[in-house]
């Protein structure tokens, strides 16, 4: 029945087009509304105020620092998760993914209860006269907590995809595991690792709930762009929108740049299906 199957094919295509169109409109409309709300001239004026620039600088510094920490701490974890089958691996995987689904405010309370003055780790730090809440370090830690799952998920998937025979070949050539990782495994998985780092950076840049809970809100010290947007909403809608547009452009540029740099974008949680051929 070719006619019938052709008709079905047409309905299928129409259905897909409608669904995609609806989704694009739904995602695009709020973003477009932000961009057109404030005229460009006003936008610049609002962005070039000392308060906005301080929030921007703090956001850039903290998100870069937290991403570096995510990579330094997350890469070994991803390596273990991808290459070593061991008991309880599933549990560990869930554990490192948990911050992704946790409401950020809950993450912030957890951080306060752990690293706050009365917290388990915080008390020990207190003996050395150290206190983390309300500092820029607290901002970085909050970002680290909520963004590391994005990196670990992507890097683990990427490392797991590398054909095991490469590692075997390296081993027969007497490369020690560290050498094999640096020279063979990591270069092959690099696109996923970089994509994961970028996702985690973007998540850190947008971090709000855990930050305001754990680090508080003080301009210049702990008030990042998202916090400035939120506080701005209560007094000055226009500068809040201007800062939102800035956040939007920053994230969009970095994520797009990454997609263009690696011709075959790999979306971590879709795994191979979205990765396509190399």
């Amino acid at each position: 029945m070719p006619a019938r199957s052709r008709r079905r094919g047409r309905w299928w295509a129409i259905g897909v087009a409608v669904a995609v169109g609806a989704l694009l409109a739904f995602l695009g409309l709020p973003l477009a509304s932000l961009v057109i709300r404030v005229p460009p001239g006003v936008l610049w004026a609002r962005l070039l105020t000392p308060a906005s620039l301080a929030a921007l600088r703090l956001s850039l510094v903290t998100s870069v620092l937290s991403t570096l920490a995510v990579v330094a701490l997350g890469l070994p974890a991803a390596y273990v998760l991808a290459t070593r089958p061991f008991r309880g691996r599933r549990v560990l995987e869930v554990l490192v993914e948990l911050p992704m689904v946790l409401p950020p405010t809950v993450a912030g309370i957890g951080l306060l209860l752990a690293f706050g003055r009365a917290g388990l780790a915080g008390r020990v730090l207190g003996w050395f006269g150290l206190s983390i809440p309300f500092t820029t370090l607290a901002v970085v830690l909050a970002q680290l907590f909520v963004s590391c799952p994005f990196f670990i998920a992507a890097a683990t998937a990427g490392l797991r995809e590398v054909d095991g025979r490469y590692a075997d070949a390296a081993a027969t050539l007497r490369a020690d595991p560290g050498h094999a990782f640096r020279r063979v495994l990591l270069p092959l998985a690099l696109p996923s690792v970089v994509a994961g780092a970028a996702m985690s950076w973007a998540r850190a840049l947008g971090e709000f709930g855990a930050t305001i809970m754990f680090a508080g809100n003080l301009p210049g010290r702990t008030q990042t762009l998202p916090l400035a947007v939120y506080m701005g909403l209560q007094t000055d809608l226009e500068s809040a929108v201007a800062l939102s547009v800035l956040l939007l452009i920053l994230s969009f540029t970095v994520l797009l740049g990454l997609r263009l740099a690696h011709r075959t974008p790999r979306v971590p949680w879709l795994g191979r299906a979205a990765g396509g051929g190399r």
């Binding site: 209860l113 009365a118 309300f134 680090a215 508080g216 809100n217 003080l218 909403l233 209560q234």
Partner: protein
């Protein structure tokens, strides 16, 4: 086929649901009526109790609250949020709403509130003058939040009082480690012991909160009295219930509930 089966399931469900919903309301059928009140965060406890007594007077009424900083509520109302009444922690944000033509009738002052310094019960500070001690961690609400603005006024006034250094105000402000979005967030940071002191309303130090914090009273001469106006909003879906709520607030029993929650009822009402 499948559609017809779905339809029959739906009608079954509807048949099961209708009589229950229809009869529950007694003489007045129809969907339950919902009163939506936007109220300053400092009113959380008192309004919760008042809602109970309003429900007793108007059976079948559902009362929902949106508690947040007054400035945020004002913004939400300006942006078209569906609210029946607005209770603000200062006249400024009520005036803002009024200027937008969103108030039905004149706002009424239903309560006053005063400021108090709170400090963790586990490690309290001894005197108000300690607020200016270098290295102390002070948490205030942001300047846009009414209680944040009042707190800054109170610190400035303390600096003009005997027994306080002349630069008390600026030195205390230099100790601010966080500007919170509402008064409850200020209290939480002190309750958790992360801040050495915070400035909140007397009404925020509820019996539950009093377990974790100690109060340091601010002398009358430096204290700020916050006026709480309430108004029915234009375009309210339940104007009758909203007016009943305002009347309850101003009644003797309403004032009793407000007083029991640390608010000061206005004189001569």
């Amino acid at each position: 086929m499948r559609a017809r089966r779905l339809a029959s399931v739906a009608s079954l469900l509807l048949a099961a649901a209708l009589p229950a919903g229809g009869r529950a309301d007694g003489p007045r059928p129809g969907p339950p009526r919902t009163l939506t009140v936007f109220a300053a965060a400092s009113l959380t406890r008192a309004f919760g109790q008042l809602a109970d007594s309003l429900r007793q007077r108007m059976p079948g009424l559902v009362v929902t609250f949106n508690f947040a900083g007054s400035q945020q509520l004002a913004l939400q109302i300006e942006q078209g949020a569906a609210a029946d009444a607005f209770a603000s922690a200062d006249a400024r944000w009520m005036a803002e709403i009024e200027a937008h033509g969103l108030v039905d009738g004149a706002p009424r002052i239903f309560a006053h509130n005063r400021l108090v310094v709170v400090t963790p019960a586990a490690a309290p500070i001894a005197r108000l003058a300690d607020l200016a001690r270098p290295g102390l961690k002070l948490v205030l609400a942001a300047d846009a939040v009414p209680v944040g603005r009042y707190a800054r006024q109170a610190l400035a006034s303390l600096g003009r009082m005997a027994g306080f250094p002349a630069d008390f105000g600026p030195r205390a402000l230099a100790n601010v480690v966080s500007e919170e979005e509402n008064v409850k967030a200020v209290l939480a940071k002190v309750q958790l012991g992360e801040a050495d002191a915070g400035i909140v309303y007397v009404s925020d130090v509820t019996p539950e909160a009093a377990r974790d914090v100690r109060r340091l009273d601010i002398p009358d001469a430096a204290n700020v009295v916050a006026d709480y106006p309430v108004a029915v909003l234009r375009g309210a879906r339940e104007p009758e219930a909203a007016r009943a709520f305002v009347a309850l607030l101003l009644s003797a029993s309403g004032r009793g509930v407000l007083r029991a929650n640390g608010l000061v009822a206005p004189a001569g009402e």
